[in-house]
């Protein structure tokens, strides 16, 4: 082999090797990419957005908020209300208002302890167009305003928790034994009302209690007494129970297939609808035999109407707290969050006693002359809340009502945090066109109750 040929072979081989090396390198890069993708998808199947990395970072940065993490001395927003000292009726009443707003905080601490991260209690925010997507097992990070509001309310609620809570020491923690709201109500009952405002609040609270009791009597009288034999009643109840269990089974099956098998989901849904109708028929059957004692009903109605009249008279007050107390009565136990105040459901279908009362929102709506009451639920609600603000109710940025919009509700509304109620409603919640409709109702509140 001559040297020239050998040199050509050598350089040819080198070129070949470079090509092979490049090919293998390319193959390796492709495989690595595939592996990376596989790893991402398997480990974090929920990453669905373009902004995933940012979102993950936000979730990771989300600070934990619990009582232990709160440095009391560095709190910027402090509740100045004294908790344990000798306080006036109004002070205790304000504590009660705060405690009522703190109800879900107390329940959370009772269930999970003071060290649990309370951010999990905040309702997911309203998802607007373009907002990041989160799965049901993920939590959207709190907005800055929500974090501030939450810290401030943890502080306030914890103060009351400590002041009014009775605790029992178990192996590893202190367990709350009493109901804090009831404890404050009890204190309010034994505290003397001295000023006119205090006396008015005390009076309307008494009226409210009487109203609730007499309304409960009307409800009871309307149900009547069942003249079926206990055996028959038990038999029907047993049937209802069995059907309810089957219905729950169907519901669970539906939950499993609702995204994957349209036909089966629809069929299960239809079966459940039919089952619910059977349950409804049995329930009707159960109460059909009830006999209403007309004398007892008339007696209950007479007592109720008297209390209802007194309560309505009390509503012609220019005092926001008095008006609020009277209005809250109509909600009974149905109000989950304070921002629901202003519209009381009055279906006579489930609650025939509703026909004997007129709620403020009903009165305002009837006076307005518009139709379809239920469609105007939120207009009426906002109008009542703004009317309360006009009367001097606490509508400030750190008020209970703003907190309920900022953190709770069906969806939390972070835009509410840090604004007073009026500004939040006008700037964010209510469209400029709709504002005039809400004002129409609010003006009617003023005309009907304050002029």
């Amino acid at each position: 082999m001559n040297q020239k040929l050998l040199a050509r072979l050598f350089y040819g081989f080198l070129v070949f090797m470079v090509i092979v090396a490049l090919f293998l390198l390319n193959y390796q890069v492709k495989q690595n990419k595939k592996r990376e993708q596989t790893g991402n998808n398997i480990n974090v199947v929920s990453r669905v957005d373009d902004a995933d990395i940012e979102k993950t970072a936000q979730i990771a940065k989300q600070p934990i908020i619990n009582v232990s993490s709160m440095d009391v001395k560095t709190q910027l927003v402090k509740d100045e209300t004294p908790v344990t000292a000798s306080v006036s009726y109004l002070d205790v009443y304000r504590q009660l208002q705060t405690a009522q707003a703190c109800r879900s905080f107390f329940e959370f601490w009772q269930r999970k302890g003071l060290d649990a991260d309370i951010t999990s209690m905040v309702r997911p925010p309203l998802k607007l167009y373009g907002d990041a997507n989160y799965l049901s097992n993920e939590k959207a990070p709190l907005a800055a305003g929500q974090t501030e509001a939450l810290k401030s309310w943890v502080y306030k609620c914890h103060q009351l928790w400590q002041a009014y809570g009775e605790f029992e020491q178990t192996a590893d923690q202190l367990v709350l034994k009493n109901n804090i709201i009831d404890a404050i109500k009890q204190r309010l009952l034994v505290t003397a009302a001295k000023t006119k405002k205090e006396m008015d609040i005390k009076q309307v609270r008494q009226l409210a209690t009487q109203w609730q009791q007499s309304f409960a009597q009307v409800k009871l009288a309307l149900v009547g007494e069942n003249n079926r034999s206990p055996v028959d009643v038990q038999k029907i109840q047993k049937q209802i129970e069995q059907l309810t269990q089957i219905g729950e089974g169907l519901r669970l099956q539906w939950v499993k297939v609702r995204f994957t098998n349209d036909a089966e989901a629809a069929s299960l849904s239809l079966q459940r609808r039919n089952l619910n109708q059977q349950i409804h028929n049995l329930e009707v059957e159960l109460i059909k035999q009830n006999v209403v004692d007309q004398d007892a009903l008339q007696q209950a109605l007479a007592a109720f109407q008297s209390h209802d009249l007194d309560l309505n008279v009390a509503m012609y007050s220019a005092d926001a707290d008095v008006f609020y107390e009277a209005m809250a009565v109509f909600h009974g136990n149905q109000m989950t969050w304070l921002n629901e105040i202003g519209f009381a459901f009055h279906s006579t279908l489930n609650n025939p006693a509703s026909q004997y009362r007129i709620t403020p929102d009903q009165l305002v709506f009837e006076t307005s002359g518009w139709r379809n009451h239920i469609q105007h639920r939120f207009d009426l609600q906002y109008a009542a809340q703004l009317y309360l603000c006009d009367l001097g109710w606490d509508c400030a940025a750190n008020s209970p009502i703003v907190m309920s919009y900022c953190l709770f509700g069906v969806n939390s509304l972070p835009a509410a945090c840090g604004q007073n109620l009026y500004d939040f409603m006008q700037n964010d919640l209510i469209s400029p066109n709709r504002w005039q409709d809400v004002m129409e109702f609010k003006n009617l509140y003023k005309e009907l109750y304050n002029e």
Binding site: L24, K34, Y129, K256, N261, N372
Partner: protein, 303 residues
């Protein structure tokens, strides 16, 4: 360098290069078909996480949907001809079913709409509704037997893109792919707006909660400057209803039309009224302005 030492170095270099390449080859490529399969499966399963989730369905409780027989289907198709509302048989059937939805009594009980009207002493309206239903029953006797069962109705073949889109179930939200949901709902809404079909717009208005329930599908809150999603939903509902009435008012917006009848369930005083009267007596001026604003924004979708 002499020839001998060159040859020696050349052979050593070749051996070295071959060894290096061999090592790279063994470390990079899958060793056997099993490894290759595993790698590919990993990729595939990761790309389709929603489907691969374990879903156990109790076979005993499983219910097969009823299938329409061929002759039943032919009879219904014959009955629909000539089409009144849409060239697509499925959309025609869907429209007719929606139009007479208030005539179909749930659970074989009394007609709920007529009961509501009677409770409000609107006996003329009750008579009118009975006549309206009788006419429908006589024109579409076979369709009436399946009209309240969407699973059967869906078996009528669709012949247009809109029909096929409409046949897809409304609740098609996949939490792993929210953008797909947003895309299909927008596409459906756009197609319905473009169809100018009153009944489809009416159905869309009833189902407009789908445009908000899993988050806003369209920037409605921005268009209206309102963060109240319940309100925005109502405005959407009214906007689609208004559009429906502007196209074929007689099919859905007269006193017993599907659209008007829905309001009777919400407020008895609205029973027996046509849509325009209902709208003007229950939608306040500010909201009416928002409805117009939304209609103009929705109009741009259809362009």
């Amino acid at each position: 360098m002499n020839r001998q030492s060159f040859n020696k170095w050349f052979l050593l270099l070749i051996t070295f290069v071959v060894l290096v390449l061999g090592a790279i080859y063994f470390s990079v490529t899958p060793r056997n078909t099993e490894t290759l399969k595993t790698l590919n499966n990993q990729v595939e399963s990761a790309q389709e996480p929603a489907v691969s989730e374990t879903i156990v369905v109790d076979k005993a409780g499983k219910v097969e949907p009823v299938k329409m027989l061929d002759n039943e289907l032919t009879a219904i198709m014959d009955e629909l001809a000539p089409h009144q509302y849409h060239q697509d048989a499925f959309l025609e059937a869907s429209t007719v079913a929606g139009m007479y939805s208030t005539c179909l009594s749930e659970f074989g009980e009394e007609n709920q709409l007529q009961l509501r009207m009677a409770e409000n002493n609107q006996m003329a309206a009750v008579k009118g509704h009975i006549k309206f239903c009788a006419e429908g029953q006589s024109r579409y006797p076979k369709l009436f037997t399946i009209a309240d069962d969407y699973m059967l109705l869906k078996q009528i073949p669709a012949s247009t893109a809109l029909g096929e889109l409409w046949q897809q179930d409304f609740i098609n939200y996949d939490p792993l792919n929210p953008k797909h949901y947003q895309f299909t709902e927008t596409k459906k809404l756009t197609a319905v707006i473009n169809s100018q079909n009153a009944m489809l717009l009416t159905e869309m208005s009833w189902l407009s909660f789908n445009l908000f329930h899993y988050g806003e599908v369209l920037p409605v809150s921005k268009w209206l400057s309102s963060h109240d999603s319940e309100y925005n939903l109502m405005v959407m509902r009214h906007a689609l209803s208004k559009m429906a009435c502007s196209y074929q008012p007689n099919s859905v917006c007269n006193s017993f039309g599907a659209l008007s009848s829905m309001y009777c369930y919400e407020d008895q005083a609205l029973c027996g009224l046509d849509f325009d009267t209902i709208y003007n007596s229950s939608v306040m001026p500010g909201m009416q302005k928002d409805v117009e604003l939304l209609i103009s924004n929705l109009g741009t979708l259809g362009e």
